[in-house]
């Protein structure tokens, strides 16, 4: 057994000590890369899709791709700690997709996106989804150069999540309640989750969707089309 060391605060440094008050942002490197991504994609609407594992992000992407294939050009960067299964699922329905394997990491960092941009053809792409690693904690802190962050919350996860994971909902423009076809069978109140989410983020929009049954998909697709149009309009006036 090692002997417990002297607490450092009890050790007197030898010589005079000076102080420097400062402000050195520890996420500066990530934010710098995030800006580079924004600069590189002025014509593409980038949406960072966050959620817990298993909330139905990939199914939502697949169904969105099918519905919007004749209206806009869509691509997906999908992050997972391991495997390329999600990118395979996207490609099966004809979506231009690239897997980012984080090698066990709990979130995507901007640097991974910047590197991925060299390996996916975004010519003519209007909308780029980044499907983040399933995790409602860590991804919240990392700006990926997105225009909009969307958080997906499945009805089966329970309606208490906005208060438990406030930073994620605080930084999201839209909360999608997914698996809405299961609402009759689970104790989940859309009203309660909306109220909690708006106490954390008063301007968050809420949408209820069933990717598999199709409920709410028109509203979601219209919302995406309007956001893509807004970004193009901003670029035209800039």
């Amino acid at each position: 057994m090692s002997t417990p060391s002297t607490p450092k605060s009890n050790r007197m440094p030898v010589g005079a000590v000076q102080c420097d008050n400062t402000t050195l942002n520890l996420l500066k490197a990530n934010d710098f890369v995030a800006k580079a991504i924004r600069d590189r994609l002025p014509e593409v609407l980038v949406i960072n899709v966050c959620s817990s594992p298993g909330s139905g992000k990939t199914t939502l992407m697949q169904e969105t791709g099918k519905r919007l294939s004749d209206k806009l050009n869509l691509a997906v960067l999908v992050g997972d700690p391991e495997t390329d299964r999600d990118a395979v699922r996207m490609k099966e329905v004809g979506i231009n997709a690239l897997q980012i394997v984080t090698g066990g990491m709990c979130h995507i960092e901007a640097q991974m996106i910047l590197q991925a941009l060299d390996h996916i053809d975004l010519t003519g792409v209007d909308l780029l989804f980044i499907e983040n690693v399933g995790n409602l904690v860590c991804p919240a802190a990392f700006d990926l150069g997105e225009d909009i962050r969307v958080t997906v919350l499945a009805a089966t996860e329970g309606d208490d999540k906005p208060k438990k994971y406030p930073r994620m909902f605080l930084t999201s423009e839209l909360m999608v309640v997914s698996k809405a076809d299961l609402l009759p069978y689970v104790p989940f109140s859309v009203e309660a989750v909306t109220q909690d989410a708006r106490e954390v983020n008063p301007t968050i929009e809420v949408m209820t969707i069933s990717s598999l049954k199709g409920d709410g998909m028109d509203e979601w697709c219209d919302w995406l089309l309007s956001k893509v149009a807004e970004k193009k309009a901003r670029l035209a006036t800039a």
Partner: protein, 114 residues
């Protein structure tokens, strides 16, 4: 989850910012807003683990200050502390104007004089 990478960031940032003083740093203070998802004890553990690998850094002490969440109410024109992540002023007005709480930064260093 990502505390180790944050602590690595601390050392890299200090090395870049204070190339001449880095060897003489005795204490680092970090300010972490309550919205930064940082647990002081986990940062402390990650810090201890990293300095074990680097004998030159063994005498650096770390202090983590947690900053409460402060928001601004436009109706009352005042700042208030956000408790239980309820971004609503006592007067009932919701707000998105966060004054403090998202920080993750080195706020102070102490170093030995040459």
């Amino acid at each position: 989850m990502h505390e180790i990478s944050i602590v690595r960031n601390v050392f890299e940032t200090l090395q870049q910012t204070y190339p001449d003083k880095f060897e003489r740093i005795t204490k680092v203070q970090i300010e972490a807003g309550l919205l930064s998802n940082i647990q002081p004890i986990l940062i402390q553990n990650a810090f201890e683990a990293l300095i074990m690998e680097e004998p030159g850094l063994a005498d650096i002490e770390l202090e983590v200050l947690l900053l409460p969440i402060i928001a601004h109410c436009a109706a009352c024109n005042r700042d208030f502390e956000v408790k239980r992540h309820k971004f609503v002023c006592d007067c009932g007005t919701p707000t998105k104007n966060i004054v403090q709480g998202q920080e993750l930064q080195i706020s102070r260093i102490e170093f030995l004089e040459k």
